[in-house]
Every structure is written in structure tokens, then in C-alpha cells.
């Protein structure tokens, strides 16, 4: 699939035309023949993409992960927009993982983009954040879970619909503690994201009264993920790796890099449940969630894309819907009005998670429930019952206002 910017533009244009045709009655227009002109709201989408491997072929991210969610939200916005004379379109720009994104972002600026979703690394995001602010552009981080983007490196023009690692770890920890599985061992990978995830788990353990009785590092020595007889070795390797651990209730794996984590369930020395980046996994969405009207967005997504909706799709859907909601409610595509609307303390959105979602005003992180599920279904959603908070129970997940290192001024 070609993800160059021109192609989705054409597609979006076609979709917009299609929507105009489908909604031909144009209700308001019929009453008032001199209907208001259609206001166009363009949304940019900057992503760093390269095919990724996973230990299980089922876990290989689809090529349009994220973008597909944004497109479904564009369609949703356009249905609403057809009643109000607003039309939304998506401009997708793709780069590589380690590439300098400043040149392509400058091109987006030249095209007049005022709202840009980003699915790029924290470093890439920071390389354009201030440039965006100087040009009055709002960024929506739909991809990075790095806490630092909401803490030391937070920005007043960067909103985050992706949850942080601390939110994910806290959501998981609350459930394990609720289950009275309080004694953990932590197996973590040797790459930076694995270490960051492990840090979030250590923090969550302290926060919710769980105990990590032992930690083990799994060094990535560079093995091929696909070998015909690899499974034989794995079956011998994983029990040994988890042998002689102190008594524990759960094995937590921190392996975002997919080096060993997915091999751990069912292969531990002691028969114990596995959670973390494998086994019971925390995320912003689950492809099998049908609660709270979820079957409707799932159905819509599957009809549009032919696959199930993943976390990043939901994060992008939410960002585009936030912009749609702001444009609809302010009847405007004026950046200042839209920013003020989103930053209002009463701003909220329905996102199929059982309660409204909205932004933490101290760092513009979306507060949202966290799904806990395995490969098949949803096991629970956090916050769990009994984890109370004076303002919002959703703020029991992740870094809370009193502890934040973010200073937006």
C-alpha cells in the first residue's frame, strides 16, 4: 500500500464526495437554499513506519495501524459535518523510524496544516514540537507512550491521546492487586523501551502495594525470530530462564521489543500467570471490546478496513474526533477557537470506554480507562473499584498532578 500523501488525499476527497452524495438531502440546505459554504478542516498525519517483526505473526502491526482509525473518524466527522457545512480530510505523510522529520514537517507547514497527528518517536516529536508552536500548529501524539513527553518535555501545543507507560502499568497493577496477586517477578528486555516499561512496572508496584521479589534481565543477543526448529529451543530455554525464582503470584514481562516476552506464557518453571507486554496486556483499546457501544465502532471500523481495531487506531480515532467535536461545537476551523475549546476544563468526548474522556490540563494527556486483555478478549478495565481519587478516578492511572514534572508555562 502506498502511504504517500497524495494518495490518501485523493481517497479522502473521493470519500468526501461520496458522503456529500450519500447525504444528498442536505437538510439545512433545502430549507435555506443559500446554505453556508462548506468549511474545510484538514488534518495532517505524520508517521514513521517500517515493517516490524513480532514473535507471533498475529502480533505484526498492520501497515495502516493508526491511519485506519483516523480515516474512520474522518468519515464520522464528515457525517456530522454534512449537517453543518464542514468537511474534514486527512493528509498522511510517512517517513522512516530514525529519519529527520523536520523537512517533511516543514512541507506540511507549507501546505497550511494546522492540526497534525503524530505517530513518531519521542525524539522525532521533540524535533518539531517548538517549530509547530511557532507556526500555531497543534500536535496530537497518537503513537508514543513515553512519559517524558508529558513530563520534563511536555509542551503546551502537544496533546496526547496515547496512554503513557505509567498509565498502562498502573492499570495492570490495580487489577493484579485487586486480585490479591501482590508478589511479582519482573523479567525485562535489554532495549530502551523495555527498560522504560520495567520502570513503569516498578513504580506501579510501589504505588499500589505490590512487591517485586526478583528481577531478571533477558539480554537480546540477536536471534532470528523465525526459525523452523526454534520452538524446540524456546521450550527448553524459558523454563530455565524462570527457574529458582522466589515464591511469586505473577510473572511480569517487560519486552516491548518482542525479543522473548511472548514466549513466557505457558513456559515458566512455576505455573504462574503472565502479565505485562505478554499474557495479560494493558492497552488503550482491545479489538474484542464490545462494551459501552463498542460493537458499533468495531463494526464500523471492520467494515471500512477489513480488520479489527487496535489501540493505535483508537488513539488516532480519538484525536480526529476531538478535532471534529471542537470544530462542530465552535462552528469553526479557527485554530485559536479550536484550541480554546479543547483546553476548556469542561471538554469531554465519548470514546466507547464507559465514561467520558478528557485532558489533564497540567500536561494535556488524555485521561482514559485502560483495557486489560489477552489475545482473545477483554479481562477487565481499570481503574478498578476502590481506587479512589479526589478529582477523577482516572487520575489514579499514571503520573498525577502533584507529582508531575511538567511545567507548561
Amino acid at each position: 500500500m502506498n502511504m504517500k500523501s497524495t494518495v490518501p488525499n485523493t481517497l479522502v476527497f473521493f470519500l468526501a464526495c461520496f458522503f456529500l452524495l450519500v447525504n444528498a438531502p442536505q437538510p439545512m440546505a433545502q430549507q435555506k437554499p443559500a446554505a453556508k459554504p462548506v468549511t474545510e478542516i484538514r488534518i495532517g498525519y505524520l508517521r514513521a513506519y517500517e515493517p516490524q517483526l513480532a514473535l507471533s505473526v498475529l502480533d505484526i502491526p498492520p501497515e495502516d495501524e493508526g491511519v485506519a482509525g483516523a480515516n474512520v473518524a474522518i468519515n464520522d466527522n464528515n457525517t456530522t459535518g454534512s449537517f453543518l457545512g464542514q468537511s474534514f480530510s486527512l493528509d498522511v505523510v510517512q517517513t522512516k523510524r530514525e529519519e529527520d522529520v523536520v523537512p517533511v514537517f516543514r512541507e506540511m507547514l507549507a501546505r497550511g496544516e494546522k492540526y497534525v497527528l503524530t505517530d513518531i518517536s519521542a525524539g522525532q516529536l521533540l524535533s518539531i514540537a517548538d517549530l509547530a508552536r511557532e507556526n500555531g500548529v497543534l500536535l496530537f501524539n497518537v503513537g508514543s507512550t513515553d512519559d517524558i513527553l508529558r513530563e520534563q518535555e511536555c509542551r503546551s501545543n502537544v496533546f496526547h491521546t496515547a496512554p503513557t507507560r505509567t498509565m498502562l502499568a498502573d492499570g495492570l497493577a490495580q487489577y493484579l492487586v485487586w486480585k490479591q496477586w501482590r508478589t511479582w517477578v519482573l523479567l525485562y528486555g535489554s532495549h530502551e523501551p523495555d527498560q522504560l516499561y520495567a520502570d513503569a512496572i516498578r513504580r506501579a508496584a510501589k504505588r499500589f502495594g505490590a512487591k517485586i521479589v526478583e528481577e531478571r534481565l533477558y539480554e537480546d543477543t540477536g536471534t532470528a525470530r523465525r526459525t523452523d526448529s526454534g520452538v524446540v529451543q524456546v521450550q527448553r530455554q524459558m523454563p530455565v530462564f524462570t527457574q529458582n525464582l522466589p515464591a511469586h503470584d505473577v510473572v511480569i514481562v517487560a519486552d516491548e521489543s518482542e525479543v522473548f516476552g511472548s514466549y513466557v506464557p505457558y513456559r515458566t518453571w512455576d505455573p504462574r500467570p503472565v502479565a505485562g507486554t505478554a499474557g495479560l496486556v494493558a492497552s488503550s483499546w482491545h479489538p474484542a471490546s464490545e462494551q459501552w457501544g463498542g460493537s458499533q465502532i468495531q463494526g464500523r471500523f471492520e467494515k471500512a478496513t477489513g480488520r479489527r481495531m487496535l489501540g493505535k487506531d483508537m488513539q488516532a480515532w480519538t484525536a480526529v474526533r476531538i478535532l471534529g467535536e471542537a470544530a462542530t461545537r465552535t462552528s469553526s476551523n479557527d485554530t485559536a477557537k479550536i484550541e480554546a475549546f479543547i483546553k476548556d476544563e469542561n471538554f469531554s468526548l465519548a470514546a466507547f470506554k464507559g465514561q467520558k474522556v478528557g485532558f489533564r490540563r497540567w500536561n494535556w494527556q488524555l485521561r482514559q480507562p485502560i483495557f486489560l486483555g489477552d489475545g482473545r478478549g477483554v479481562v477487565s478495565t481499570s481503574p478498578q473499584e476502590g481506587f479512589l481519587h479526589q478529582f477523577s478516578e482516572l487520575d489514579t492511572l499514571g503520573v498525577d498532578q502533584p507529582e508531575t514534572a511538567c511545567n507548561l508555562n
Binding site: 450519500v22 447525504n23 438531502p25 437538510p27 439545512m28 433545502q30 430549507q31 464520522d76 457525517t79 456530522t80 449537517f83 453543518l84 457501544g293 458499533q296 463494526g299 464500523r300 474526533r321 467535536e325 462542530t328 461545537r329 469531554s348 468526548l349 465519548a350 465514561q355 467520558k356 477523577s392 478516578e393 482516572l394
Partner: protein, 324 residues
């Protein structure tokens, strides 16, 4: 005693059509176990359980009480049940995923919200034929009709609008933005206003039917309960137009609202995740479906006190009461 009650219940079910004023059949759709529970409004006991299609939600009874219509959402159809025999005798071509509907005051037309297709389907009930489909916002849900039958209101959950539709032309004549996830539309008996609940927004918007503008936004506050748990869904207004009842979902309460002052006068504790509401024809009793506790609660509308809760099927969703 039990045998006697059972026999009595059977008799009541059989004579419902001729309708002794003191007992009405209450029909409850149970979303999770694909059944409709029949409860006697007088004895407040279950008299019958009817197996229906998958995921029954919206439920209404014909104005003569002879036919029951049930949205079998996952079967993409509206089932017709003979209330005398409790047999499914046919279906209506509802379009995909019907969730809620409303019957016109003359009983001839059924307006169905199709959640998956952003459509309202208009059905000729006698001919069992689709008259037309009206494109509306994303995830149409709530359906209300003015007492004169001239205006139908549909709410769309992701678009967050109340769409006012002229039932003569089948065209949208006004779109009114309301709060997040509007679930239900209820006209006042004099047709002057329509009340729209917003589940995620946590409010009820009162829209003037002449100006088509929001004239009041009702909010709810319950001590000891976080605001996110207050999720208004079902709304019913008394026949004298003086009181409105609002089911508050996971807040487990029904709010009683004074329609003149718009003040919440009382919160009635019912069961868990209270969803939809229905009056008995004499208006003396209100019945709520409490999804998570698998029961319905009878409420005395004179005192606004709960009278009794009755266990029905799994995840009770909608409720309607036979008129006779």
C-alpha cells in the same frame, strides 16, 4: 398457593386483550439472554418468558395492545409477537442493527434507528414494507415522536445531535447539538418540548419544539458519586407534563425532575445500571429496567418511592406496558 398464583397469572395473560383495568402486562426485553419477560403490573410477578431473537433491546406494544414489537438487534430484524399467544408471528424489515424505535400516534408507522448504518428506517407496519430511509448522524439511537405525529426526533450518539424530521416529507428540518452520546428523546405530552438525555455528557437537554433551540440543560449531582457515573439514558414525562423521570445508568437511580423549574426533586434508588423506563397506562406506576442487577423496579409515582423489584432475565434493557 404457588400453583394458584401461577394459574391466576395464566388467566391474566389470557384476558389481557379484554383488559381489566387493574392489571397490565409489562414486557421487558432482556439483552443478554434473548428473552422477553412478561410481568403482571398488579401482582408484580413474572407470568411468562418469551424466547426471541438475538440481543433484544427496543420494545413497544401496538396501541390496541395486540402486538408487541421487539428490536432483535443482532438478527437485524424487528420481531412481531402476538400478545395473546406469546408467539412470534412475523417480522418487520428494520434494516441492520435496530436498537430503538417509536410507533406513530396512529399506529401505522414505525420509525427505527439503525445504529450501524446512520439511518432511520420508516416502516409501514401493516404492509410490513420499508417506506423510506433517512440519513442521519453517526450511531442513531434515541427516537421520539410528537403527540400530533408531525415531528419525529432522532438522536445520533457520535454526532451528538437531535435531528428533527418532518414525518410528512421524511426530511430533516433541524439539527440541534446536544451533549455527548444522546440516548433518548421524549416529547412532553403537549408537544411543546422534547427532552434529550446525553449519557456521556451527563445531562438532559430540553429543546423547544417551536424554536428548535436548547432552552435548558439539566445536570445531576449525587453526593458520594463521581460525576462520570451519572449517565442519563431513559426519560419519561408524566401525562400531565409536570414531572420527568430520568434513568441515570450506573448511578443506579432515577431522577425526578420538576418540568417547570427544571430542578431535580428526588433521586430514587433502584437497581444497578438503570436503563429504560415505562409508565403503566394509569400513570400511577413507573417501571425501570436495571441491567446489571437483572431486575425491574416498580415505583409509585404519587410518592416517588420504590414499591418492589422483580427479577427478570439477564441484562434487562427495554420496557413497555400493554395499554389495556
Amino acid at each position: 398457593m404457588h400453583r394458584y398464583a401461577y394459574l391466576l397469572a395464566g388467566t391474566i395473560a389470557a384476558v389481557i386483550q379484554t383488559g381489566p383495568a387493574w392489571a397490565n402486562a409489562v414486557y421487558v426485553s432482556n439483552e443478554k439472554d434473548n428473552t422477553v419477560t412478561v410481568v403482571d403490573s398488579k401482582t408484580m410477578e413474572v407470568t411468562k418468558t418469551i424466547n426471541v431473537g438475538q440481543r433484544p433491546r427496543g420494545i413497544t406494544v401496538s396501541h390496541d395492545g395486540k402486538l408487541l414489537y421487539v428490536c432483535a438487534s443482532d438478527d437485524d430484524t424487528v420481531e412481531i409477537i402476538d400478545t395473546a399467544t406469546h408467539q412470534i408471528i412475523g417480522s418487520l424489515p428494520s434494516g441492520p442493527d435496530p436498537e430503538l424505535f417509536v410507533l406513530s400516534p396512529d399506529g401505522k408507522t414505525l420509525y427505527v434507528a439503525n445504529e450501524d448504518d446512520n439511518l432511520v428506517t420508516v416502516i409501514d407496519v401493516d404492509k410490513k414494507r420499508v417506506i423510506t430511509e433517512i440519513p442521519v448522524g453517526v450511531e442513531p439511537e434515541g427516537m421520539g415522536i410528537s403527540p400530533d405525529g408531525k415531528t419525529m426526533v432522532n438522536t445520533s450518539e457520535t454526532t451528538n445531535m437531535a435531528h428533527f424530521i418532518d414525518t410528512a416529507t421524511h426530511e430533516i428540518v433541524a439539527n440541534v447539538l446536544v451533549d455527548s452520546r444522546p440516548r433518548f428523546a421524549e416529547f412532553k405530552p403537549d408537544g411543546s418540548q422534547v427532552w434529550i438525555s446525553a449519557e456521556i455528557g451527563g445531562t438532559v437537554s430540553v429543546i423547544d419544539n417551536a424554536s428548535r433551540e436548547v432552552v435548558e440543560k439539566i445536570t445531576f449531582e449525587i453526593q458520594g458519586l463521581r460525576s462520570e457515573a451519572i449517565q442519563p439514558v431513559g426519560v419519561r414525562i408524566t401525562s400531565d407534563g409536570k414531572k420527568a423521570y430520568v434513568a441515570l445508568g450506573p448511578a443506579n437511580r432515577v431522577a425526578v425532575v420538576n418540568t417547570e423549574t427544571y430542578e431535580v426533586e428526588k433521586y430514587i434508588l433502584v437497581g444497578q445500571r438503570v436503563w429504560q423506563l415505562a409508565f403503566t397506562p394509569d400513570g400511577k406506576t413507573l417501571i425501570s429496567t436495571n441491567g446489571l442487577s437483572n431486575d425491574i423496579t416498580f415505583i409509585d409515582t404519587a410518592t416517588d418511592e420504590p414499591i418492589k423489584s422483580v427479577t427478570v432475565g439477564a441484562l434487562p434493557w427495554g420496557v413497555t406496558v400493554a395499554p389495556n
